[in-house]
Amino acid sequence: MTTEPALIVENLSLALGRANLVDGVGFSVAPGEVLALVGESGCGKSVTAQAIMRLLAPVIRQTGGRVLLAGQDITALPERAMRALRGQAMSMIFQEPQAALDPLATVGTHIAEALRRPLRDVRDQVLQMLAEVGISDPARRIDQYPFELSGGMCQRVMIACALISRPAVLLADEPTTALDVTIQAQILDLLRRLAAERRTAVVLITHDMGVVADIADRVAVMYAGRIAETGPTAQIFARPRHPYTSLLLASIPRLTDAPKSALAVIEGRVPTPAEFGPGCRFASRCPLADDTCRAATPPLRDMGDGRLSACFHAEQLP
């Protein structure tokens, strides 16, 4: 891809008190591209997204790195300028669509708010957007409240909110986790279509490798606040270059496996930020770990084929 990335995150570090929640995370997304950020619960996916939006909880500090939006460094932008970007140049959608909508405000109010105009001025535009995200009977839905809509519809409304100002970047934090598979398929289709048609750069946060396989162009796998491995989707699935990725893929039951066969297991559990040591954070659970892994942080290394891996033993993997 030759176009300039819409979003670049460089070396982002976040801390809660003395604990490093996120440590040197970096990635970039091109317009029209879908980047999946995967990782287990608590690995720092959401805080990364919040840091990009500069909506971190006050207790969490950004301790390093920068965020470039269309080449512009927004890390030190004043809050007022930042507000002008949010919802305009970059938008965000959330995991629980019902919870992310104000229960006391109508669908139309929400969407108009993203345009910063009263609903009556922009009603037509909103109706059009609702139709675009696949809501049937928009004229009726526009004045309904979130409780009158199903989860899938709420998520469409969130997407409408996020996309009505045609942002260059969309951050989607587990947008389908709370939805049923059939609805999830609809929403993923919608995202895919919108990314392609509008050239929106999408950062899709998920923990579902199936979703990644379905929609992502590239993947960044996170583990305990760090990037374990990044690369094009097909290659990551075909030949993981980090033991965590490969174990993760092996532990998922597939429709092609033998039923009741033993699944691969990642022993132990994710360390909490307080437990982070000096070495590789996966070392305690890694079958390949040795003393080097426990002593030093493996850097993200270029694996050649457009991939980066943070494992000393990347080459040992089959």
Partner: protein, 306 residues
Amino acid sequence: MIRLLAGRLLQAAVASFGVLTIVFFVMRLSGDPTLLLVPEGASAEQVAQLRAALGFDRPLVVQYAAYLGDLLRLDLGESLVQRAPVAGIVGERIPYTLALAGGALLVALGIGIPAGILMAVHRGGLLERALAALVLAGQSLPTFWSGILLILFFGVYLGWLPTSGADSPASLIMPAIALGALTMSTFARMARISVLDELSRDYVTAARARGLSVWAAVSRHVLRNAAIPVVTIAALEIGNLLAGAVIVETVFAWPGIGQLAIQSIQARDFLVVQTVVLFVSSVYIAMNLLADLAYAAIDPRIRGRS
């Protein structure tokens, strides 16, 4: 909605009836007022004679039945002490009581709610602590003391405000502050908690992600959502503001029903006490009904359920 209201009214009737019954019997247990009504030297026969004339020699159940009978005929009876219809005696106090309760509520809401919101939005900051101290101070001084300090300071030393009575709007200021202070902290805490609660919800982050400032998110989304618990508390507190204002009314010579109730309890003027309690519990119930209506006005989810 109609069914809900009807149900609430029925429950209200039951609660009122309960209140009346409790108060009727507790009052009667405390002894009848005959001895208070005779001169100190009256003889036993004279006392017995008056007691019989007042009907206190009848069995309690008979008196209770008679009272309920009168009540059904909407007859609240005549005060033993004042020899005047109870409805009038209590009725004359009600405007004062409402004025005081209203003033106190104004103070409580006017200071408490903004303070609560500020405390929530500035959580952990210096402002929160300063406001918390102010708000809690309102709840940590006995009214009978803060009342006299207010009178001495604003009334006697500065001469700004009338020291007692209920004859001008200025008279209302000090009692409303003294009474409102207590409730103010309740509102501030409640507002703080519910705003905090709402602030932690996703829709606030979502609103900010759409480019709203914190205050815009608060004013456009949070406040309405946070209103419901506050409305509930307001409804609960009003009952206390009405007749719980005994001490404030006494200190500031405010002729409300709280004072009337206490004086009537002390004089064993049964019917007056019963009527005051009936009034307060009706208002309490009415307020709760209003709160239910307010929920519906605020919350489309409840409205939609009709």
